[in-house]
Amino acid sequence: MSGKSILKRIDWLTVFIYLALVLIGWVNIYSSTFSESVTSIFDFGTLHGKQLFFIGVSFVAIILTLALEASFYERFSSLLYLISVLLLLGLFVFGKTIAGATSWYDLGFFNLQPSELAKVATALALAKYLSDIQTDIKRRKDQFFAFLVIFIPAILIIPQPDPGSALVFFAMAFVIFREGLPLFYLGIVLLAVLVFLTTLMFGTVWVSIFIGLLMVLFLLLKKKTFKVPVIPMVSAAVIAILFSLSVNFVFNNVFEQRHRDRFSLWLRLEKDPAKLEKIRKTIGYNTYQSEKAIEAGGIFGKGFLEGTRTKGDFVPEQETDYIFSTVGEEWGFLGTSTVVLLFTLLLLRLVYLSERQKNPFSRMYGYGVISILFIHYFINIGMVIGMLPTIGIPLPFFSYGGSGLLFFTLLLFIMLKLDSNRLKEGM
């Protein structure tokens, strides 16, 4: 395949959005790690210098990705998956611990995070399994195996501990739904989350009363409108109430204090100002500081390199997980909404690209990419602006981190390669 033809067939809109995000991200990393004493942006001793190096590496990776045969990815997805699982297992023996998490291999010049590779591999493997001619997602057994593909890396990652990354794999369940898993499952999960949160906010009693009222309403109206059987509905309600009771138990007896604090901060459960102040200074410090930095930005922001809170490193982890708060302080609402719009546009474009694939593997891989990018974007920005509890995962293409940028790039450009090949495939 000649380079000329790929340049014609690649989806340039996605490429432009990718480049824009990488550029904006780097500018903000530069600002977050800027200090007066450093002069050159190519100083690889600095974080922004290193990031610039990895952007270069990523560009090389893009060329390689596009140069390979599209069928390569489908063929080798199982092998890639196996390698990444082995790498995750190897962490238990050879892993390097950074900030309490044993998630890295020390390769000397940089640290490799195999969970990043595993994301790409799992997306490929899941697509491969689901697109297999023998797989029927309506079958329980096949549903089980599909989930197994997701759960194996996730379960290996949880004890690192890196629950944030593990969550990314669960998000890939969305691909299975797209391919026909009954929405019933999703409904159950959503209901469980809803009951969990409302129980924490309002207590079991109110949740039970509310469910009871819903039941009464359901029984009164059932003959006219619904055709749902009575017994499963009632038993679902009973289970929900029991679940609500167990939530209280788990929250108070199984969770550690720091988890409880995160939830009470997120759901604004704590009303006592003295305790709230304490939470702000301890567990909620990051969120509080990042919200304050974003608020201080206003509509137009303080300007590039003018963010005093950014300069003073008031927001911890600002160049990695909290990079979005730099955008907030220095570029204001204009900057933050631009970034949100770019991500939304990218994701929607990817949905469009996935849907136009004729090859099921490409489509399912596309959904895998969307799931991964979406969950990162959703949780990261949600956390930084104080809408979600603190879960440490990076913002794709933005956050500082070599393996992160490299594998997000691979993830995206494999998709673009598959897309550029769509007319040839399906033969």
Partner: protein, 638 residues
């Protein structure tokens, strides 16, 4: 449906994020103010507060450097605690306790370990300080008073409180501001402007360089020194004379309106309100609710002026053509108001303007007052014309001086009497309001107003608003309010006969015992009836002693009003004190030592204790030898 689901979720999340961001950045946008920004530290460089000098350039208030030993707990390394404690002169336990307290306050921010070292200790410590990391010496500036007088004039400074901070954002916690007196009124001049350096901090509060390369930094500006109109020597002397007496004294230079002295008794040593002991001392003074040392009687004490006010009535009558200097009234040792006879101390007989003034005849002035009313078709018009004249002497309203507080006093008018007695000429008349004739009625004045009124007489028809500021940085003030004369409504020619009467007060009148050799003084005594509610009964106390005077008569250099509570005769305490102060001011020395000794050793404490004794007491005792306190030698020696 499944195809749309994902897209919808993406769009909904995008909208939610933008909603939340607009809430954070648009609706609850709180721009970081330079001083509130936690990432920026302002380092202040405090200039020295300006000095205050008296009218002759003598220092009144300066600054005293004080040295605090500060500690930044987390920078403290292992040191020889015992040696350091002996250097600081404190116990080891106390040292450790204070260090612990500082650590609890903040391990990163400086705390005061030892307050206000003496200069000797500072000199001893300074060289060795660098051996003790985490400790350093912070220089501060305290007020130093080169006088024990004039506390009410100078005022004091103290740390700003929440209210000051809310009112003026330029203040920072821990700064000092003037509270009363000159320190308050000329706060901005004296304070100068503090220098500010902005430092960018990180979240551990470490300095990481200048903010914006110091482009927003402010250079400190020295506080300006000011010269006030007070005569330090006169003020100190007056306060000694006032020892054990309550009341107010104000002396003014008539030609310029400069306040020469402003004494309030009882007073306190201004040094009491400096430094560490300030708040304890202040409470002690503030809660003395009987003698009220913090209440400035020279400017805030409103009382009936008494007989000195008769001079104003004489001037109004002359101006309105109600009398000539030779118009006479007969005094029958009193006068009749309806069927009631009111007494008069003047001795009786036929009175004209001259002896009416110097013998202070009540009957004469009630007659004059009635004559004024006869010049007008109605009582209301007479009353209001009278009011206008009185107010032109600066009575009944704020003078507009540059003093931090004061009172308006009061002057009655027809509106007030109409309200009291009802409208119409039949309801009230000159007879009803006759007390105004002798300064006992509805007229209330402060000693400052009384002095200013005297200055207006001395100037033969105008006054210059009394003021306390003379120079800033050696340059004379240019404020037209304190330069341009304010004219009274009385023509110049009418003043001479009244002033003659006032001069005769010294020659042959009520103050002939307190004459000053070689100085021609014009004055007027006042003995003011005085009431107080004791156990809900209105009880008469010993009269207030009042005296106004100016000298020399031809070219007045000083106009003075002395108001002594419960001093009885005008000439007894007030007259004595006024004459001593005039002599002191004009001659700079006292020749009449016996008179001086009398004032320095006699106090009115006995008089002031009477209403609180709970026993019946006599008032207006003729014999005043009991006022003498034998062992007041300290007062004499000063």
């Amino acid at each position: 449906m499944r195809k749309i689901l994902l897209s919808s979720i993406i769009i909904i999340i995008g909208i939610t994020f933008i909603g939340r961001l607009s809430y954070l950045q648009i609706f609850s946008f709180s721009p970081d103010q330079l001083l509130d920004d936690p990432a920026i530290k302002a380092i202040y460089d405090y200039p020295e507060r300006g000095y205050i000098y008296d009218r002759y350039g003598k220092l009144l208030v300066g600054n005293d450097p004080a040295y605090d030993v500060m500690v930044i707990p987390r920078e403290v390394k292992a040191i020889d605690t015992l040696e350091f404690c002996s250097l600081l002169g404190m116990e080891k336990e106390q040292f450790l306790k204070k260090l612990k307290k500082a650590r609890i306050y903040s391990p990163r921010l400086p705390s005061v370990l030892v307050h206000q070292l003496s200069k000797q200790d500072y000199a001893r410590l300074q060289e060795k300080m660098r051996r003790y990391p985490g400790f350093y010496i912070q220089k501060r500036s305290l007020r130093y008073y080169d006088t024990n007088a004039a506390a009410n004039v100078l005022g004091y400074i103290s740390e700003v409180n929440e209210r000051d901070l809310a009112k003026n954002p330029n203040y920072v916690q821990g700064e000092l501001t003037g509270r009363t007196g000159v320190e308050k009124v000329y706060e901005d001049t004296l304070r100068g402007r503090k220098g500010i350096q902005y430092i960018q901090k990180d979240r551990f509060n470490r300095d990481i360089g200048k903010y914006k390369d110091g482009s927003l930094d402010v250079e400190p500006e020295q506080g300006k020194e000011i010269t006030i109109t007070i005569d330090k020597e006169l003020q100190e002397y007056g306060e000694r004379l006032m020892h054990g007496k309550w009341g107010g004294i104000v002396a003014i230079e008539p030609s310029s309106g400069e306040i020469l002295t402003m004494i309030s008794g009882p007073t306190y040593d201004p040094s009491l309100l400096v430094g560490r002991k300030r708040s304890r001392n202040y409470s002690k003074l503030h809660y003395d609710s009987i003698s009220k040392p913090t209440f400035d009687r020279s400017i805030s004490f409103e009382k009936s002026p008494g007989s000195p006010f008769k001079t104003i009535n004489a001037l109004i009558a002359l101006q309105e053509g109600a009398i000539t200097p030779s118009t006479t009234f007969t005094c029958h040792h009193g006068f009749y108001i309806g069927r009631n006879k009111k007494g008069c101390h003047c001795g009786g007989g036929t009175k004209n303007l001259n002896n009416g003034i110097y013998e202070s005849c009540n009957a004469y002035f009630v007659g004059v007052y009635k004559k004024i009313f006869e010049q007008f078709p109605s009582n209301s018009e007479a009353m209001d014309a009278w009011e206008k004249h009185v107010r032109s002497f600066g009575l009944g309203a704020y003078l507009g001086s540059d003093l931090h507080t004061g009172r308006k006093g009061s002057v009655p008018n027809s509106r007030m009497y109409n309200k009291w007695y009802g409208k119409g000429d039949k309801r009230w008349s000159a007879t009803t309001t006759y007390s105004n004739a002798i300064g006992q009625g509805e007229v209330n004045v402060t000693p400052l107003q009384l002095a200013n009124m005297t200055a207006a007489i001395a100037n033969r028809g105008y006054y210059i608003t009394p003021h306390i500021l003379k120079k800033i940085e050696g340059k004379d003030i240019t404020n037209p309010d304190f330069i341009e004369p304010k004219y009274t409504t009385i023509d110049k020619k009418h003043f001479e006969p009244v002033i003659q009467g006032m001069a005769d007060v010294y020659h042959k009148g009520t103050a002939r015992w307190v004459q000053v050799p070689d100085i021609e003084i014009a004055g007027k005594t006042g003995t003011v009836e005085n009431f107080m509610v004791i156990d809900s009964v209105r009880t008469q106390l010993t009269d207030n002693s009042v005296f106004v005077a100016f000298a020399p008569v031809d070219k007045p250099k000083i106009a003075i009003a002395v108001y002594i509570q419960n001093g009885y005769f005008g000439s007894r305490y007030a007259g004595h004190i006024a004459s001593l102060l005039i002599e002191k001011y004009l001659k700079r020395k006292i020749t009449r030592k016996d008179l001086e000794k009398k004032m320095l050793t006699r106090t009115l404490e006995r008089e002031y204790a009477k209403p609180y004794s709970g026993k019946p007491f006599k008032i207006n005792e003729r014999d005043w030898s009991q006022d003498e306190i034998k062992n007041l030698t300290k007062n004499l020696q000063q």
